[in-house]
């Protein structure tokens, strides 16, 4: 893309370029995130899919400026956030500057709503806190706004709930409160890291539908991180599949499902048990297991488990390359266009 083309395009809300995170672990340096790039537009949802250890949560924390400082050995790349027509380089900000962004600009919903809430503060106090801190509301104003927020996230009897503590709520209700806190200062970007994994399936859908409705209503950019392809299948505009700290495939959602190119994407897709399969259908298991990210071997990280792997895959790391309009994959021997599902 030339510079002039870039200028005529709408400025992306969030732009991540070559994000690389290395963490110090007990057993060595963990290559948690390597060369991750993507863009997020206003009003869009990006689904990030990966198994445990794929780097998806570390990436989210890096975007929020929440990496453990002492354990971070290397943090490289660019994270640009468009704020009121200006572009902020997040990785260059001081902790103090970053703090002013968390809440009004960037907010995060975590996996476990029990540990994300403070057990000794009432819900009202916890929702009002960012409102007082960032928006300068007084206590009465903040409480009034907290009440509105609780109602917006679908909590029955919000007035009574304001005075309650987290342990008095069910898991689904707690996650709604976490969402209310995240939305309190009207953020432009919402990162949701496995927001429904800790919830029961009937509650999971309620919470996902709520997140999506709020995202549309407020035209936020949302990054929805999950290990479950089913969670993002009908909800994300684009999907990035991560493996061993890298994005291995990126595409608009419908295109990803109809024409996946990376063997890992396909293997992950096929290994999920489906309701539509008859009983005792043999599953397509991926042999082996995800790699350790300490001193990774050269070459493609998926090569040891890949049916298409050749000599070259064990020597060189494939870069993300264009495979069509907005469709990228990192594979030397991608699979042909396949009609899956449909």
């Amino acid at each position: 893309m030339t510079d002039s083309q870039q200028q005529t395009q709408q400025l992306p809300l969030l732009r991540v370029e070559d994000l690389t995170v290395r963490l110090r672990g007990e057993a060595g340096i963990v290559h948690a995130v390597s060369d991750v790039s993507f863009q997020l537009q206003r009003g869009q949802t990006l689904g990030i899919v990966g198994e445990s250890g794929s780097g998806k949560s570390v990436m989210a924390r890096a975007l929020m400026g929440l990496l453990p400082r002492r354990a971070t050995q290397q943090l490289d790349g660019q994270v640009s956030l468009a704020v009121d027509g200006k572009v902020l380089e997040l990785l260059k900000l001081s902790e103090r500057e970053f703090r002013t962004l968390r809440g009004p600009r960037l907010a995060m919903v975590f996996q476990d709503p029990m540990t994300a809430l403070n057990p000794v503060l009432t819900l009202g106090v916890q929702i009002a806190e960012p409102l007082q801190l960032h928006l300068g509301l007084n206590k009465a104003q903040a409480m009034a706004r907290a009440l509105e927020l609780l109602a917006q996230v679908g909590i029955p009897d919000p007035e009574g709930r304001l005075r309650q503590y987290p342990h008095q709520l069910s898991g689904g209700m707690r996650q709604r409160v976490v969402i209310a806190i995240a939305l309190a200062c009207d953020p432009q970007v919402l990162l949701a890291d496995e927001p429904t994994t800790a919830l029961d399936v009937t509650v999971q859908r309620q919470v996902l539908d709520l997140l999506l409705a709020l995202q549309r209503e407020r035209q936020m950019g949302m990054v929805l991180i999950t290990h479950d392809l089913g969670v993002v299948a009908n909800r994300a505009d684009h999907i990035a599949v991560m493996y061993a700290g890298r994005i291995v495939e990126y595409a608009p959602t419908s295109r990803l499902f109809s024409a996946m190119r990376h063997p890992y994407t396909e293997a992950l897709f096929k290994s999920v048990p489906r309701l539509s399969d008859p009983s005792h259908t043999r599953l397509h298991a991926i042999p082996g297991r995800p790699p350790q990210l300490i001193d990774p071997a050269p070459g493609c990280a998926f090569a040891p488990r890949c049916p298409n792997a050749q000599q070259r895959c064990r020597r060189e790391t494939p870069a993300l390359t264009q495979a069509g309009d907005e469709h990228l994959h990192a594979c030397f021997y991608p699979i042909g266009i396949k009609e899956v599902g449909a």
Partner: protein, 327 residues
């Protein structure tokens, strides 16, 4: 509480395990919680019964109560014609060798200080079985662990999926009749889940196992089960063959559960309304039908009278539902 009749129990002579009017209670402070309330089902030789429901429905407690861990408060667990709730001490321990269990978190269910071969051999040593070494090697090979390289290692040197293989090998060492699997794949990554599910199917065929498979994931349960029992707040809602329950779900809760699953192919337009609200506390379950507070079909009678198990309107054999307005 009066005991209900149990039309869902089948009159077959190959029933290996039968659970009748099972009740499990827990002390919670000054109160008693009925975690499992009058649950009955049976399993025929070679069958896999899937036990599904959301957290707090009592499915894991049923699995443990079958093992007498702890013994249930009421009801019978009849294994090969013998009520094992009446057994104690040595007799119970001996009978229990034929019932084995694997758990959700494979890493915490293995002693980190012991070698894999000793973990797997422990039951054989206790019961002084012959040819222990050969048996350990045989089950290790069966679950896909190389006895040469894995036998002398300790659990921390293995991944979660490998640890679950060790747990499965341990459960098979004593040649059990029944294997109870309590959420055996929910702690594993999707790509590893499929390996373990396939392995369980292989082991079932190789060792002629009868299985109870407890899980919250309906797609996983469908893949592995012959029959499915759906639980809600300690009660059995629906039981039947996989085809009956998945193709013709008769209980509004089963219908809602199936509609809630995020599927890769389904569109957002689902005919079945989403469930509102959360699961009520089991400390104080709703009167009558326990599902009525979230049920789109609930009427006055649902609050007054607990629905009895009855043949499902699906017309499929051995398909039963506990609902006043099934279908």
């Amino acid at each position: 509480m009066s005991e209900t009749s149990n039309p869902q129990l089948r009159a077959r002579d190959d029933i290996v395990l039968k659970v009748e009017h099972l009740v499990v209670t827990f002390d919670v402070g000054r109160e008693l919680v009925q975690a499992v309330s009058d649950v009955s089902f049976d399993i025929a030789r070679g069958e896999t019964l899937g036990l599904v429901g959301e957290s707090g429905c009592g499915k894991s407690t049923v699995g443990r109560a079958i093992m007498q861990l702890p013994p249930p408060k009421g009801g019978k667990v009849i294994f090969k014609g013998q009520d094992i709730t009446q057994l104690e001490g040595e007799a119970l321990r001996k009978t229990r060798t034929a019932l084995q269990m694997i758990f959700q978190d494979p890493i915490s269910s293995l002693n980190p200080r012991r070698r894999v071969k000793d973990i797997i051999a422990e039951g054989l040593q206790i019961w002084e079985r012959p040819n222990q070494r050969a048996r350990v090697e045989e089950v290790m090979e069966a679950v896909g662990l190389d006895p040469e390289t894995a036998a002398d290692r300790r659990p921390h040197q293995f991944s979660g999926g490998q640890c679950q293989r060790i747990c499965i090998a341990r459960s098979l060492a004593l040649d059990p009749d029944v294997l109870i699997c309590d959420e055996p794949v929910s702690a594993l990554d999707v790509s590893v889940q499929a390996q373990i599910l396939n392995l369980l199917e292989d082991m079932k065929a190789r060792y002629q196992l009868t299985m109870v498979f407890v899980a919250h994931n309906l797609a996983v349960v469908k893949h592995i089960s012959d029959r499915v029992a759906v639980m809600y707040l300690g009660k059995l809602c629906e039981i039947g063959s996989v085809d009956a329950v998945y193709q013709h779900p008769s209980h509004p809760y089963t219908q809602a559960l199936l509609a809630s699953i995020p599927e890769l192919e389904t569109s957002q337009e689902d005919a079945i309304p989403l469930l509102q609200g959360d699961i009520p506390s089991p400390m104080n379950p709703p009167s009558g039908c326990r599902f009525r507070t979230r049920c789109p079909k609930a009427q006055a009678i649902c609050a007054q009278q607990e629905p009895a198990m009855q043949a499902s309107p699906s017309g499929i054999g051995d398909h039963f539902v506990a609902c006043h307005f099934p279908g």
